[in-house]
């Protein structure tokens, strides 16, 4: 039994409806209570960098708005009627039915209802995402699995040698997801690879998803989210996958990432090296510019950094701060309810952030526990707390600095900002030190 949660940093499985909104010209159909879609939009989009409605999110999401009648007598008829309406009213290439607590508890046969429409040739799939069944991250994985299993033909396609499917940031949940995915696409283009990023502007919508079996490999850039999809694709289409657990931020990690991907994809080593050299030259020009400020600033700069993030950001940001900026880690909190089987490898990653630096991690989704632990920790210098807007109070209490990167982010407007790659590292350095400088002025 998991514990209570104060200051939530992710929500429930039905969050997958935001992942659907992130697929171009896709429309979620929520089979749940009247408030579910709105609450999730508020939590994942509005209060997470004010990301907006998107094409068919916000107030436009079709929803059965389960009432007493559906709870007592079942909601299949209502679902059928709402799907029929959605197919006429909504201008879309793909519909994804997602269930909530009400329909999953009363036991509607959602799969059967959706199959009836698919058999008539409608582009519609479904996933069971009742909120009590798991976290937003698990919901996103369920969506990936549903689209792969129900939309894609089992037949193998001719491989496109430089095509690679990318599974990384979870849309909306990561406030910087669209910028990050675009940045990954640009990095891979530097190696001559064509990234199929599946979500966000210019990703190609349903056609991109249909191309998934043609990729020469799948790339998972995350400690654990997306691995399940890669394994399913390996089984279905024999597509190999590369699991690179660290979202590459800054010079050290991005060069390592490019070298690893290049080697896996069989890219000419000289070509990879040339691209890395060119990008590093620019990156280190700017890093050098920061040196006078970082070395000579006469007021406090943070002593230790603390992350209160999902595993994607906790690991990525730690690696960047340790390896590029030479900072030292304090307590690291991972909030994404990482499945048990992935915890050991994450601990190992933190144990070897660099040859000389390691950090201990605590897994907890509960902001109350984070605060308790931070209060009990001795801070010799003001800590830099990298987490969410919830952490403003504890940062103030500890006289530290705070930057919001992780849900909820209600003190920043996020448009296309990305922290991925060489440029992303520079953005992150700017944002950290800007937060610190801002506290003096």
């Amino acid at each position: 039994m998991s514990g209570v949660i104060e200051q939530p940093r992710h929500l429930c499985m039905l969050s997958a409806k935001q992942s659907v909104v992130a697929i171009e010209r896709a429309v979620p159909i929520v089979h749940a209570g009247p408030g579910c879609s709105g609450k999730l939009w508020s939590g994942l989009s509005f209060c997470n960098g004010f990301q907006g409605s998107g094409y068919a999110g916000g107030g436009a999401v079709p929803s059965t708005n389960t009432g007493e009648k559906e709870v007592v007598f079942g909601g299949e008829e209502r679902l059928r009627s709402v799907i029929e309406g959605a197919l006429k009213v909504m201008d879309a290439d793909l519909f994804v039915v997602l269930t909530g607590c009400t329909s999953d508890i009363v036991g509607d046969d959602t799969g059967q209802v959706v199959r009836e429409f698919r058999e008539q040739g409608m582009p519609i799939v479904y996933a069971e995402t009742g909120g009590f069944k798991g976290s937003s991250f698990v919901g996103h994985e369920a969506l990936l699995e549903a689209v792969i299993a129900q939309l894609l033909d089992l037949a193998a396609q001719e491989r496109v040698s430089n095509l690679v499917n990318v599974f990384a940031s979870v849309p909306y949940l990561d406030p910087f997801w669209s910028g990050n995915l675009e940045a990954l696409r640009e990095l891979l283009a530097g190696l001559g690879l064509e990234a199929n990023i599946l979500f966000g502007p210019g990703s190609g919508g349903i056609e991109a998803w249909r191309k998934i079996p043609a990729a020469s490999f799948n790339l998972v850039v995350s400690p654990w989210v997306g691995l399940k999809a890669a394994r399913i694709l390996e089984e279905r289409y024999g597509t190999p996958f590369l699991h690179y657990p660290v979202l590459p931020i800054g010079g050290t990690e991005t060069s390592r990432f490019l070298a690893t991907v290049g080697a896996f994809a069989g890219v000419d080593r000289g070509k990879t090296a040339a691209f890395i050299r060119k990008e590093e030259k620019r990156f280190y020009y700017y890093l050098e510019r920061s040196a006078d400020f970082i070395l000579e600033f006469r007021y406090d700069l943070p002593g230790r950094f603390v992350t209160v993030c999902d595993s994607l950001y906790a690991l990525a940001v730690s690696r960047f701060l340790v390896n590029d900026l030479g900072l030292l880690p304090g307590r690291q909190f991972i909030t994404d309810q990482t499945p048990t089987e992935h915890r050991e490898s994450l601990r190992a990653e933190f144990a070897a952030l660099s040859p000389s630096v390691s950090a201990q991690v605590t897994f907890t989704p509960d902001g109350g526990e984070v605060q308790r632990e931070l209060r009990a920790t001795k801070h010799h210098q003001p800590p830099l707390i990298i987490g969410s807007t919830w952490d403003k109070d504890i940062a103030a209490e500890l006289k530290g600095y705070q930057v919001s990167l992780s849900l909820p982010v209600t003190d920043r407007l996020v448009l296309d900002r990305s922290y991925v790659g060489y440029r992303g590292g520079l953005r992150l350095a700017e944002d950290f030190y800007t937060a610190i400088l801002g506290s003096y002025q």
Partner: protein, 488 residues
């Protein structure tokens, strides 16, 4: 006749209590006529988009009580609105010059195990944790669809924990599936406050006026000060002690009777606090009537008359200018019931043409059951009949309507709806501060705001040129309410 029954744990939903409906198409005049004998019946839609639920509106009333805590007994997704209420909490603290602090919100995190075996133990853990973490003066436990369907006896658990912890622990029944009228959540929160928090008055304060509101700017201190009265804003940004003494006030006013109908009626019926039953204080005639009723109830008739005369004189020149500049401008209004009526009053008072209005639901009566408080009737009598519909935030209907009517300005009050107008290139604004339009100055505020919005439509025009709405051509060619069924 008793209307507010405080002996039950659950509040009766608005569909049953106030004859509330979510579907109607016609005119404002016809709607008031049909509502007089509560003969209007619900019209259900065969296709719907997401709405809002009572859990949101219940939490919105109790989350900002500064020394209380909220335990949301639900799977984690139901805490999706925590961050928003925390934002509002901090913004409100900043505006008041208070120390910024996170709202005291906890989610019990119901999981698959609890759905099978019941969530009682987990709720107990959560309430005890709330006590340890926040040391609150009261704990409000909000329910969810999941806790409701599995049948957790939340009121009984609250009673047990209240004894154990020695502070008020009270349940708020706000399962989303129980009502399609999300305003039921306001009533549920007020029901809990009336039942378990408010105490009978020991002394009365003849100058104190409860103001039921959300979290708008403080405009009433100055206004009421001129009448020798003091506003007591409730419920957000209060303390538990302040709520315990709601009974001491001379009267209760509300900025919107869709919001406060239950609390105002309950305070009058059970605690002897007079409710000011009048149309909302928007537009000149509405404000006049509202102030006069307040003056009558508090014995300040002379002061009120002086204030009205003075204010009419003060605003007349600018109002005349605004009316001249806004003449012929067509506005469309969409907001929550009475607030929608209030916005129609403002457009009418500014001499604009009301192209149409939509409200998120319609209550055929209020808890006080007094026709003097019929805000829609007031608007129809004062400004004439207008095309009117009831639509629970169905954006496909809104877009269809706006696309046909092409108003010069779209004024909306609910998250996620403004883009409907903006993507059509219609100058649009959402006024978050519900006090912005109140009273005589509020009328001028709105006039200026509308003029500003139509003066530079560059942003919405850019959006209209470069974005697409998610609706088919087929749909935009249909009648806007063609998915609305017959009256039940």
């Amino acid at each position: 006749m008793a209307t507010i029954n405080l002996t039950t744990a659950d509040v009766p939903i608005r569909e049953n209590r106030l004859g509330s409906v979510t579907g109607y198409e016609g005119s404002a005049g016809e709607l008031t006529r049909r509502s007089r004998d509560c003969s209007l019946r619900e019209r259900e839609r065969s296709f719907t988009q997401c709405a809002t639920c009572a859990s949101v509106t219940a939490i919105c009333q109790v989350a900002m009580i500064q020394d209380a805590a909220v335990v949301n007994h639900a799977p984690l997704g139901c805490a999706g609105d925590f961050a928003n209420f925390n934002f509002i909490n901090r913004a409100g603290q900043a505006r008041r010059g208070w120390r910024l602090a996170n709202a005291h919100l906890l989610n019990s995190n119901l999981d698959e195990h609890d759905i099978v075996f019941g969530g009682a133990e987990r709720l107990k853990v959560a309430v005890r944790e709330a006590m340890t973490r926040f040391a609150p003066k009261a704990i409000f436990v909000t329910t969810s669809c999941a806790s409701g369907i599995i049948g957790d006896d939340v009121p009984a658990i609250c009673r047990e924990l209240e004894e154990e912890l020695g502070v008020t622990v009270v349940s708020i029944s706000c399962e989303g599936f129980r009502s399609q009228i999300w305003a039921t959540g306001f009533d549920a929160a007020y029901h809990a406050i009336l039942r378990r928090v408010v105490k009978p008055a020991v002394t009365k304060r003849p100058d104190l006026i409860n103001v039921i509101n959300f979290w708008g700017d403080d405009i009433f201190t100055a206004l009421f000060g001129r009448l020798g009265l003091t506003p007591n804003y409730v419920v957000p940004f209060t303390t538990v002690a302040q709520l315990e003494r709601l009974s001491e006030a001379a009267a209760t006013v509300q900025i919107c009777s869709t919001l406060g109908t239950y609390l105002a009626a309950g305070l009058e019926e059970h605690f002897g606090v007079a409710e000011v039953k009048a149309p909302s204080p928007y537009g000149i005639s509405g404000t006049d009537a509202w102030l006069r009723e307040l003056g009558r109830v508090t014995g300040k008739e002379a002061e009120v008359e002086a204030l009205i005369a003075e204010e009419h004189g003060r605003i007349s020149a600018e109002l005349a200018e605004l009316r001249a500049r806004l003449k012929g401008i067509r506005g469309f209004v969409a907001a929550g019931a009475v607030h929608g009526h209030s916005l129609v009053a403002i457009l009418g008072e500014l001499g604009m043409e009301v192209a149409g209005a939509t409200v998120w639901h319609h209550d055929q009566r209020f808890d006080h059951n007094d026709p003097q408080g019929d805000s829609l009737q007031h608007v129809v009598s004062e400004y004439g009949d207008v095309p009117f519909s009831v639509c629970n935030k169905q954006s496909f209907e809104m877009v269809n309507l706006l696309n046909r009517l092409r108003p010069d300005i779209f004024i909306v009050r609910h998250n996620g709806m403004a883009v409907c107008g903006a993507k059509l290139g219609i100058p649009t604004f959402l006024m978050g501060d519900e006090h912005f339009g109140i009273g005589y100055e509020g009328l001028l505020n709105y006039g200026r705001k509308i003029l500003d919005s139509i003066t530079n439509p560059a942003f919405v025009q850019n959006l209209a040129r470069h974005t697409r709405l998610p609706y088919t051509e087929w749909w935009l060619a249909q009648q806007p309410f063609s998915f609305l069924g017959e009256e039940a």
